[in-house]
Every structure is written in C-alpha cells, then in structure tokens.
Subunit: 291 residues, 2 copies
C-alpha cells in the first residue's frame, strides 16, 4: 500500500511482472481511506503487507506513537496510526515506512539495471519534495527519516527574487523548486510552462544544487528522479549538465566524465515505484523480519 496525500495505491502480487490485482483511489478522511485499503486486502488475501504512507511518520518501534503519521498539515491525518489500524485487521507481517523510502527501495530492489548496487537515492519532485536514501544496501532511517526536500541550497535573490513557499524554511529546496513553488513563482502551473521557458533553467539549477549535496554527502551509485515535475523529461539533460558544472571535476569517478544518462535517471518503475517498493518491503519483511 502506497498512501500518498492525494491518492492511495494498493497492489497484490509477487513483483512488477506479477501483479494480481491493483486499485487506486483518492485520499479522503483517514477512516474512510484506511477502511477502503483494508477492505481491498481482505478481498485479496496476502502473506504480508508493506505500508508506505506519506510522512512525516513515527518510525521508532519504542515510541508509543510508532506507526503514526506525525505533524502533517493535511487536515485530519496528524496522529493517525496506520500500522495500528492494519494490526487490528490483519495477523500477518506488516512492514512500515514512508512512501518515499518505499519508492527508493522499489527502485533499488526491482529494476534489473539496479541489481548489484548497494546505494541509491530517490527524489520525488512534485507538489512537495521528498527523498529516500539507500546506503550499504538498506533504507537509511537514523534518528527519524530523511527529509531531504528541506535542505538549504544557494539562492541568488538577484537572479530569482522569489522568496520561497516553505512554511518552515521559506527558501529551502522544496520552498524554491517544488511544483507548488513553480506555480507560485510564475503564476501558473508548471505543466503550462513551455520547454524553453526560463523557469526550467532555474528549476534545473536548484535540483542540481540539491543533487550535488547528496552526491557529496552519501556518494550514491545512482540517483532516480520521480514525481510530477520530473515528468518534464527535458529537465534531465539540463540537470545533468548543471551537476557536472557544479562538481567541477572534483569527484574522481568516470561517472562524472560522461553524460550521466545512466546516473541521474527517471524511475524504472514509472509511477509504481512506491507501490512496488511497499511490495518489496512486505516481501523482505516476511522473509527476514526487517526491511
């Protein structure tokens, strides 16, 4: 189950090429939405479920609120304990992580092109920005979970006087480069801006700054960029060129000498990274008792 702020997606199966049943429905109230998801899995019995709702989540098994959505601005959802609701309904292994961690794990786990990697970063750049980090073969959690959408990046106010729209940090990465920021800066949705519009050079620059910082911090073997904004495929070559320019030859790896078209890539699983990631979580959790 991938539980996004806008849509929930539930799928039953054994892998990307073996999906037995699948539904998508809009995110409504917690009660209504979770009942619908639970009902789907009752009708399609499974051995384990991966639960991957939108965050921030309480992922600390020692916390009384473990399994809950914490401080979300989404009306009605703060404090909803997703895992507890499923535990009441099912007596099977239930893996639990954020939607974006699941998407990262899905991209890491399933695509043949990513076999043999032990690190990968997945960004979703849409209404908001999130990221999941795989290091040493596993999803990175640490203190809570990454919130890489909110990193601070250089913002040249002469070139871009837009103040940023993040309610917490104004001009963090999400505040400057999310779909919501694009719409607020240009007064119309990103979808309506043509490829040659100056919006895209600026957007590619902000994304490249965030990517360079991730490259310098965790040195991932692959970076996957998903989400609504990244549907604009002309962004990929712009971002790759700016990453190269910003790194300026500092990292001695053949990756940065080439076009990087195998390094900074769209999701191999398309819009199913999250749901297929949740499926991989369920599979791993049932087999090894941890994701």
């Amino acid at each position: 189950m991938e539980g996004g702020g806008t849509k929930f997606a539930c799928a039953v199966g054994a892998g990307p090429d073996d999906i037995r049943s699948e539904i998508r429905f809009p995110t409504a109230t917690p009660d209504e939405t979770l009942a619908r998801a639970i009902d789907f899995f009752r009708q399609h019995p499974v051995a384990a479920i991966g639960l991957a709702p939108f965050g921030p989540l309480d992922l600390d098994p020692a916390s009384p609120a473990y399994g809950s959505i914490t401080a979300t601005p989404k009306p009605g959802w703060a404090g909803t304990n997703i895992l507890a609701a499923f535990r009441r309904a099912f007596d099977i292994p239930l893996a639990f992580d954020t939607d974006v961690n699941a998407a990262a794990f899905g991209e890491f786990h399933w695509p043949p092109a990513n076999r043999g990697l032990d690190s990968l970063v997945y960004f979703t750049i849409g209404t908001g920005i999130g990221a999941g980090v795989i290091a040493n073969g596993k999803v990175v959690h640490g203190l809570t979970h990454p919130e890489t959408g909110h990193v601070r990046i250089p913002h040249d106010r002469e070139k871009d006087p837009f103040a940023g729209i993040c309610p917490f940090h104004a001009d963090c990465f999400e505040g400057l480069a999310s779909g919501s920021a694009l719409a607020a800066r240009w007064g119309r949705p990103g979808e309506s801006l043509p490829d040659g519009h100056p919006a895209w050079e600026l957007e590619a620059g902000y994304i490249a700054s965030a990517l360079v910082n991730v490259i310098l911090t965790v040195s991932p073997q692959r970076i996957v960029l998903g989400g609504g904004v990244m549907q604009r495929r002309h962004l990929f070559p712009l971002i790759r060129a700016k990453v190269k320019e910003l790194l300026n030859g500092y990292i001695a790896s053949p990756v940065f000498a080439g076009t990087m078209d195998k390094y900074i890539v769209p999701p191999a699983l398309g819009i199913r990274s999250g749901a297929l990631g949740a499926l991989a979580m369920a599979k791993n959790y049932a087999e090894s008792d941890r994701i």
Copy 2:
C-alpha cells in the same frame, strides 16, 4: 595508521585503553613517510593493520589504482599506492579507507556513549573540511566516498562579501568555513581571533547550514565535530542554537527540542579518532573480512 597531510600517527594495541606503542611524525615524501610507518609496524608486529590516509582515495577493489591517493594537490603524493606498499611489506589483513572515514568509525565504534547507535556523522573542520558518514551500522562508501566538505550552502554576500577559497567551488562549505577560509577572510589565523569576534557567529552559521543538510539527508543519531577549528569549544553552543533555528521545528524528534548537547558533540576520542578508528577497522577486517 592515520596518514594525514601534515602528520602520520601509528599505534599498536587492542583498543583505546590498551595502546602498546604509538608514534607521530611529520608527513614528508611518500617514500620516506611510508618507510617510517612500515618500519614501525615491523618493530611492533600486529595481526592486522588499518590504513587510513588522507584522500581522495581510490576505494574500488576492481580498479587498477585501488589503494592509491588520487588527485591530491599535495606535492608528490598523487598516485601513491599506500595499500600496495603495505602489501609488499606485510602478509596480514590490511583494511583501507580515508582518514576521515576512519575517524567516523572510531567515534562510532569505541566510545561507550555511542554504543547502540547505528548512524553517526563525523566532521573534521580544520585546514580543510571532511566528513565520514555511518549509516545502517557501516561506513558509507557508495560510488567513491563522501566529500561533504564541498557541499553548497547559502552564502549571503551582503553579510559576508568574502568570495571563498575552494579552488574547485569557491564558496562551498570548505571554501567559506575551513581554517584556511577563516585566515584568508580575517587576515589572521583563526586561533588569534577572540571568542567575541564576529568571525565566530558567521562560522557557526555556515557550520549549522551544513549540519542541517546532513541531518535532513541521513538523519544521523549523533554528529561529532572535530578538527582544529572545533578546538574553539565556544562554537558548540553557537552551532547548536543555529541548527535549531534553521530546522525551525520541522523534525519531530525530542533531540531538537532540547539543548542538543548530547547530539552535536566534540570527539570522545580527542585527537585520536583517526588512529583509533584505523585500529577498529583493522580489528573488524581481521574478524569479518570487511569494515
């Protein structure tokens, strides 16, 4: 063996409380320096050695240059294969990683206060800036190794018109906040600037920006700040306050509600983090064939 750009430190023993013998000597030419280190270990036979020289290093076992220092500006050292030199001299397990990864691993492995963690970030802020990242209980390598000193952070040129001194990126973190940057900006060494000098507010702000980005990217359970600049202990409370201000309540963890004096800390191993980290690498490598 910790091999810094200025000093080499070799130690023999079984842990921080059981060091049998120890030497430090200035870094000279590669031949002279490695001969001295090899000679020390010949006189004090050991079961395994952890080699932790300054980077950037080739850490890819499949590469013909595996074990070498790569593109260092330090005269004579680029291309020096440290691991090969030790393999010619010793037929015992030899672990190999960067000095700053070793320091991170030392702080993660030895101090009783850090037992039970599975993530930690160590920064050395001195002449240059480097970082080692532990995630999921292991040192993060990925494509090459982290170079977190070179991340891009906001730089308000009205407040700080200094252009930055990084030859690759001008005003990256190292370019703005290393000991060399401090000296170049203020025209005298950081050591000579009194505690109340405006240099320190600015310095704490840059360090806090970099720390916030690391917190948002890998969510470490502890951050250790070492290196010459961090000898100025009055920086710690300034940095903690600015981290809290920049995060602005976004991460729902009790850590950020408190003083953070157990979260952002000086090295528990003092100036021995690197050498004791190399020793931990040797121990783990001999026991499990990997660090």
